[in-house]
């Protein structure tokens, strides 16, 4: 009797423990499933690329993250956590799209694509569902071994969506250059984001790359978690060139372009400075000038805005079998031919657009706008100022040239130099103006009042706009730093379509489709195959409302 009761009690306790374990497991599983609806999820158009290729990316942006701004940073990172390339792209509601130009000299290996918002950098370890991608160097002669991720916990294997998503094709057999037509039927489902893609499979990367859950950390201490809205944050540090110590002199920024943008930053004792460039698209030409006392020389270093892996992943190395090696070699050759016959379609590196956020010069509307071309030619700036610049004094005493501007309100001249600008760039030596002839000058603006820009004050402004906008006069000037900085990427779509030249040229495309499926019913697609033979995979990767990743695919053989 006592034994039976003890047995019953033990059974009950065992049942309770079992129940507890099951609940904990279920809880952990549900946590794992739902983390993606608080994370950015990156999709790539391919599992591998050749150095010099363009990797096209899409990122799913959950609604919960939209408070962090609308600029997503996409980055390509090496196995050792080194930043290879990065891009800032605009996100439109729940999606961001962009590309990363894979450097031509990048070594063969496994690389990772991550995404983050700048405002997330103080979130401790930041989670992101990224992708691993193989890069094959186009000069590599024989690839024998390749790294694979050993740490399987970081690999995210999507659930099968075979029951929820159908990929229907009109034909069963396909040959090279055939038109592939079909539709993706998603029916009633809970997917919030779906990407359909099609590519010829390269077996090694197809097997060993995929979604990965990354923990990322902010190792660039000092970049503020500033929510970037239609603009990018540029950070850097100022130091004394002689001592190497951090310097906290005022840093002036000029961004040249159709309209010149001006800003300033007063660094703290760490020498860090930050600028926000609103609506800046393309590659900006920055001119940074620390305001120096005497002959002090400075150094400026820009801090790349990226996040590093919180923990180093473990990697193993595996042999590439001859069949796999042959396909890799073919893909390298194919990419070469593709470039040869199709060219590179990415925009020029010099494209840049940035509207003036104030709609007027930062020093306000000028009191006088003089166009010297409308007057007789004058040989130097002294003559120009005497003849054309009313309310401006050019004083030449003891070989020292000083400028003074009239203060309209007080009816007297200011007792210090005005702010002097050439093509919108602050200039601190009057000697730059001395030899300017009226034929060199497009226009001159005079501001005859004490203006403010933030906390800076200018006792009058002289702005000379030259006909020559190359700013070559800046070269060799001390404490003037000219830098090219990528800002928001211009929106651009990948071109997977065949070359218009038709059959006369070889077509060696490996990718054919990479689009967001925006229909809940039947989503038709079509594309033309290339001359590449092999297994064609058409796949749909999807995210459910709960943040779970799903995947379904169809593989057909192209003969």
């Amino acid at each position: 009797m006592v034994g039976a009761s003890l047995n019953k009690e033990l059974m009950s306790r065992a049942f309770k423990i079992l129940f507890l374990v099951v609940m904990v497991c279920a809880g952990l599983k549900s946590m794992a499933q739902t983390t993606a609806n608080r994370e950015l999820v990156v999709f790539t158009d391919r599992d591998f690329c050749i150095s010099g290729d363009t990797l096209w990316l899409k990122a799913y942006v959950p609604k919960e993250l939209q408070r962090y701004g609308n600029i997503v940073h996409l980055q390509l990172e090496s196995q050792t956590g080194n930043l290879i390339a990065s891009r800032a792209v605009n996100c439109n509601n729940t999606q961001a799209e962009g590309f990363i130009a894979v450097p031509d000299s990048l070594q063969t290996g496994l690389y990772f694509v991550h995404a983050f918002f700048n405002a997330q950098r103080n979130n401790g370890v930041l989670k992101c569902t990224g992708r691993s991608v193989y890069v094959y160097n186009r000069f590599e002669e024989a690839i024998e071994r390749l790294p694979v991720v050993e740490d399987k916990a970081a690999v995210v294997t999507p659930e099968s969506a075979d029951n929820q998503i159908d990929i229907d094709l009109e034909d069963k057999n396909y040959r090279r250059r055939d038109e592939v037509k079909g539709s993706i039927n998603t029916g009633d489902n809970e997917f919030v984001y779906m990407v359909a893609s099609a590519r010829i499979i390269e077996p090694f990367s197809n097997k060993n790359s995929g979604f990965m859950r990354f923990g990322m950390k902010d190792r660039n201490t000092g970049i503020p978690p500033f929510p970037e809205e239609d603009g990018v944050l540029i950070s850097g540090s100022l130091s004394n060139r002689e001592t190497g110590d951090a310097a906290n002199n005022l840093v002036l920024l000029t961004v040249t372009g159709n309209e010149t943008y001006f800003d300033y930053y007063y660094p703290d004792s760490t020498g860090l400075f930050h600028f926000f460039l609103p609506d800046a698209r393309g590659n900006a030409n920055l001119i940074l000038q620390p305001l120096a006392v005497g002959d002090k020389q400075f150094d400026i270093k820009l801090t790349p805005n990226f996040m590093s892996a919180a923990e180093q992943l473990k990697f193993d190395s595996t042999f590439v079998n001859p069949k796999q090696a042959e396909i890799i070699e073919n893909s390298i050759k194919g990419t070469f031919f593709n470039k040869l016959f199709r060219g590179v379609s990415i925009r020029s590196k010099d494209d840049f657009e940035m509207p003036n956020p104030y709609g007027m010069p930062f020093y306000g509307q000028p009191d006088n706008h003089i166009v010297p071309e409308l007057f007789i030619d004058l040989p130097n700036f002294k003559e120009i100022s005497r003849e054309l610049l009313i309310g401006f004094q050019y004083r030449d005493r003891n070989d020292e040239v000083t400028f003074r501007m009239l203060d309209y309100g007080q009816d007297r001249f200011f007792d210090t130099e005005p702010l002097r600008l050439i093509n919108g760039i602050p200039v601190f030596k009057n000697s730059f103006f001395q030899d300017l002839q009226s034929t060199d000058i497009a226009s001159i603006d005079l501001v005859k009042s004490e203006r403010i820009f933030g906390d800076l004050r200018f006792k009058g402004v002289l702005m000379v706009s030259l006909n020559d906008k190359s700013n070559s006069w800046l070269a060799q000037q001390p404490n003037v730093f000219q830098l090219k900085v990528p800002c928001i990427e211009f929106p651009k779509q990948a071109n997977y379509s065949p070359n218009a030249e038709g059959r006369t040229q070889p077509d060696t495309r490996w990718q054919f489709l990479n689009e967001v499926v925006d229909s809940n019913e039947k989503w038709p697609f079509s594309f033309q195959l290339s001359d590449v033979k092999g297994d064609l995979e058409i796949k749909v990767e999807a995210i459910s409302k709960s943040g779970k990743l799903y995947r379904t695919s169809k593989i057909i053989s192209v003969q």
Binding site: P224, D263, F276, L291, V293, G359, L456
Partner: protein, 230 residues
């Protein structure tokens, strides 16, 4: 101290006054633009509203928002004046950039918006927004200069004018812009000639006698609710 002074002198010769800068000077969201001013006794005594510097905020047309400002409205020149606490100077904010500003006037929060009057000069005006709807009620605050017999003011200066802060009222629609209006039922009816009968009936039913700001706002709200502002 010597180094600091040298830096100040040097910086002035660079054409930029930089002293008193600190980390608060680094507003990443955008900078204020304006013109440094000094207020003479007359402006200080007669033209500024409210009587003291009050907390306020400002929004630029480009979306930049500036909070925690100490502001006053200069009703004579129709300009917004604020105090820069880092540099300790007064300046008038670039009017073309201002979309709206608000300040605390005693217990009341006042919102001013910048609108363009469609006269020959396309004048920019600051107007207080009393009611915002399809037809908004706006107030233009201005200084009325009245000639009087000479007298000595509180500073001992002989004057022959008196300054009075006055208000003009305007109805504003995006389509028609600003139309001056008196605060009366007749003026309201004349603004909507096609709906006069219904408006008259509506005001009567609601026992609304339009003769001040409050009742005019209520009347416009009623008109909007009953689609009578077309």
């Amino acid at each position: 101290m010597g180094v600091l002074l040298a830096f100040v002198v040097q910086a002035q010769e660079m054409g930029i006054d930089t002293y008193e800068l600190n980390s608060e000077s680094n507003n990443l969201q955008g900078k204020m633009l304006g013109e440094v001013i000094t207020l003479d006794a007359e402006v200080n005594t007669y033209f500024l509203y409210p009587d003291d510097w009050v907390p306020g905020s400002l929004k630029f047309t480009n979306g930049n928002v500036f909070e925690d400002l100490r502001i006053r409205y200069q009703a004579f020149t129709d300009e917004l004046i604020t105090y820069n606490k880092n540099g300790r100077f007064l300046y008038q904010i670039e009017k073309e950039l201002v979309e709206s500003f608000t300040f605390q006037d005693g217990s009341q929060s006042r919102k001013f918006v910048r609108l363009t009057k469609n006269n020959n000069q396309q004048t920019n005006m600051y107007l207080e927004e009393l009611y915002k709807g399809t037809v908004s009620l706006m107030v233009n605050w201005y200084i009325y200069e009245q000639s009087v017999s000479p007298y000595k003011d509180k500073n001992g200066i002989t004057r022959a004018v008196e300054y009075h802060l006055r208000k003009d009222y305007y109805l504003y629609t995006e389509q028609d812009g600003l139309t001056k209006i008196r605060l009366s039922r007749a003026a309201l009816l004349s603004r909507f000639p096609e709906n006069q009968r219904q408006i008259r009936k509506l005001l009567r039913q609601n026992k609304l006698h339009v003769n001040n700001e409050f009742t005019m706002v209520n009347a416009l709200r009623l008109l909007a609710e009953n689609n009578l502002t077309e």
